[in-house]
């Protein structure tokens, strides 16, 4: 039986920040620092295996058990609702899910609101709680363009500093929910590798800094 604990980390800046937390908590894998195109890194002594995956795929790897634990943004967890345990708020990668529109936008409740977003489920849930009829326009990138070109009235997207919005004359005017990186675990792995996973949670908890 393979007793290695598989950890899926999101590629990119957030992943690197999160790996630093793992390293400081004693769950390190020195090979990962070496430049190259390798995707999987092992620390046999500590029985750890790290791999980089596309941030939006981390939850899938964990839900289906290819990874025992992983780090995913709260945005992804809210959008895809994977059946995983959400063990710790790492309080890094902090941003918010917000509704933004052109600064000249005035909400007209007599019309169906056209919402452009990558996060269709989050948007649908948010507006259905307000009994609002909306038309979702699913885009995969450059969401900010939609209201400028009249494709949508508003956008639902992640806002970090708001700089991109400002540069495009857009204003965030409602926050849907705060977002940060979360440590997630496969429900079955949690039963069979509980000691290691619990130690990981405790170790990482010590590394969490209040933003």
């Amino acid at each position: 039986m393979d007793e290695m604990v598989n950890v899926a980390l999101p590629k990119g800046r957030l992943g690197e920040k999160v790996y630093d937390m793992f390293e400081r908590a004693g769950f390190d894998c020195p090979d990962i620092r070496e430049p190259g195109r390798k995707l999987i890194f092992e620390n046999r002594e500590k029985k750890l295996r790290f791999f980089w995956v596309k941030p939006s795929d981390v939850a899938i790897y964990v839900e289906r058990g290819a990874a025992d634990v992983g780090v995913a943004g709260k945005d992804i967890l809210l959008e895809y609702q994977p059946e995983v345990y959400e063990l710790l708020d790492l309080k890094t990668g902090v941003c918010r899910m917000a509704v933004a529109a052109k600064s000249s936008f005035r909400d007209d409740r007599s019309k169906t609101l056209r919402v452009a977003t990558k996060f269709a489920n989050i948007a649908r849930k948010y507006y259905s709680a307000q009994c609002r009829d909306i038309d979702i326009i699913h885009l995969n990138g450059s969401i900010e363009l939609a209201p400028i070109l009249g494709l949508s009235d508003v956008i639902v997207d992640i806002v970090e500093t708001g700089a991109t919005l400002r540069e495009n004359d857009l204003v965030p005017f409602e926050t849907i929910t705060p977002i940060s990186a979360r440590l997630i675990a496969n429900q079955v792995s949690y039963k069979f590798k509980e000691k290691t996973i619990a130690a990981m949670v405790a170790g990482l908890k010590g590394q969490v800094k209040e933003p």
Partner: protein
């Protein structure tokens, strides 16, 4: 014989033997039920949606997404105090996330009537034994909805807030619970979420959280289940875990879920559903579980080996009767032998050639 059976097929046979031995009777149902049965109790079902069609008389029917509802519907209080049934049926459910409908093979038992602690214990033990039949490396998680209710009740949460708290509990999201109900008010709920471990280790930490009489009774029941599992030598596989929060409109009391190493989702789910019985107008209690057999194929590593043991090739002039006779003789030694003019594309251990009445190995 055994090697010919796939994991799920072997499990079906072994589970049937297990349930029969305890006096459970088979329950066979038709593939369809009126859709109204499911739509009236849709929260009871694990996933929403059923495949529907119109019957010849205009009734809207559904391919069954669940078996328990049909068994409960057909329950009649008879001279027997407790009715025990088992089933092995295919159910049709949406796989979630827009992945369409799937056919899932399911086995299970239901125990209806004057269910006491004894029947409850019997069903929990059967659940553990069912998992043991599937794999020796298994875990049975137990939870008690009465304890969760007793912890939630004094908090006086709104319906929406309570649903949110239960959802966070099911994800073990302690940080989320802290945000939802901060400070001392939410302490007991956080303690419940953090509580996880083997029954014997976790029960003592549960006791201080059981402050009401109902919760204390629930605790005593869990303690007695723990003893029953210990007697059966299964205690080390049983865990306490309050992230199991089945719908409280239907379930009450003990709920449980089973996992085996190597399958990334749960393979068994069940519990006590007295409230479902009441909602369906039955004056009785009920407990049962289902085993999802479709996942078991993942337990066997894919056969990377050969399609057959040997390929017997023959020339265009060979006498078919003689070739067939030779192949039969080879098969009688236990080998899997396929006939082919050329061995191309067949993965095999050896290639044999049949030539003028003789067999020789050529690769």
């Amino acid at each position: 014989m055994d090697e010919l059976l796939k994991n799920e097929e072997r499990a079906v046979l072994e589970l049937r033997r297990l349930y029969r031995a305890q006096g459970y009777e088979p329950f066979k149902m038709s593939k369809f039920e009126p859709y109204s049965l499911y739509v009236n109790h849709k929260e009871f079902l694990i996933s929403e949606g059923a495949i529907t069609f119109t019957d010849t008389d205009g009734t809207l029917m559904a391919l069954k997404p669940d078996v328990t509802l049909s068994i409960v519907k057909n329950y009649r209080s008879s001279e027997r105090t407790v009715q025990r049934v088992y089933y092995n049926e295919n159910v049709y459910r949406s796989a979630g996330g827009g992945r369409g409908y799937r056919e899932i093979m399911q086995s299970g038992v239901e125990c209806l009537g004057a269910v006491t602690a004894l029947e409850l214990g019997e069903v929990v033990l059967l659940a553990a034994q069912s998992l043991q039949k599937i794999s020796p490396d298994f875990v049975l998680d137990l939870s008690h909805l009465g304890i969760i209710s007793a912890v939630l009740e004094p908090m006086g949460l709104s319906q929406q807030c309570r649903a949110e708290a239960l959802s966070l509990l099911s994800r073990k999201n302690i940080d989320g619970l802290t945000t939802l109900i901060p400070g001392e008010a939410g302490a007991s709920l956080r303690a419940l979420a953090a509580l996880s471990g083997s029954l014997s280790d976790a029960l003592p930490s549960l006791l201080p959280l059981c402050t009401t009489a109902e919760a204390r009774a629930a605790y005593d029941l869990l303690a007695s289940l723990s003893r029953m599992l210990e007697d059966a030598g299964l205690q080390r596989h049983a865990r306490l875990d309050f992230s199991i929060v089945n719908d409280m409109n239907y379930y009450n009391g003990v709920v449980f879920r089973g996992y085996v190493a190597g399958i990334p989702t749960g393979v068994l789910s069940g519990g006590q559903y007295d409230k479902l019985m009441a909602r369906m107008g039955k004056d009785a209690r009920g407990v049962g579980f289902a085993v999802y057999l479709d996942q078991l194929e993942r337990l066997t590593p894919s056969a990377a080996g050969c399609d057959v043991d040997a390929v017997l090739t023959y020339g265009p002039d060979a006498d078919p009767a003689e070739v067939l006779r030779t192949a039969k003789a080879l098969r009688e030694t236990g080998e899997r032998v396929v006939l082919a003019a050329r061995p191309d594309g067949i993965r095999c251990r050896r290639v044999l050639e049949f030539h003028s009445g003789e067999v020789r190995e050529i690769g």
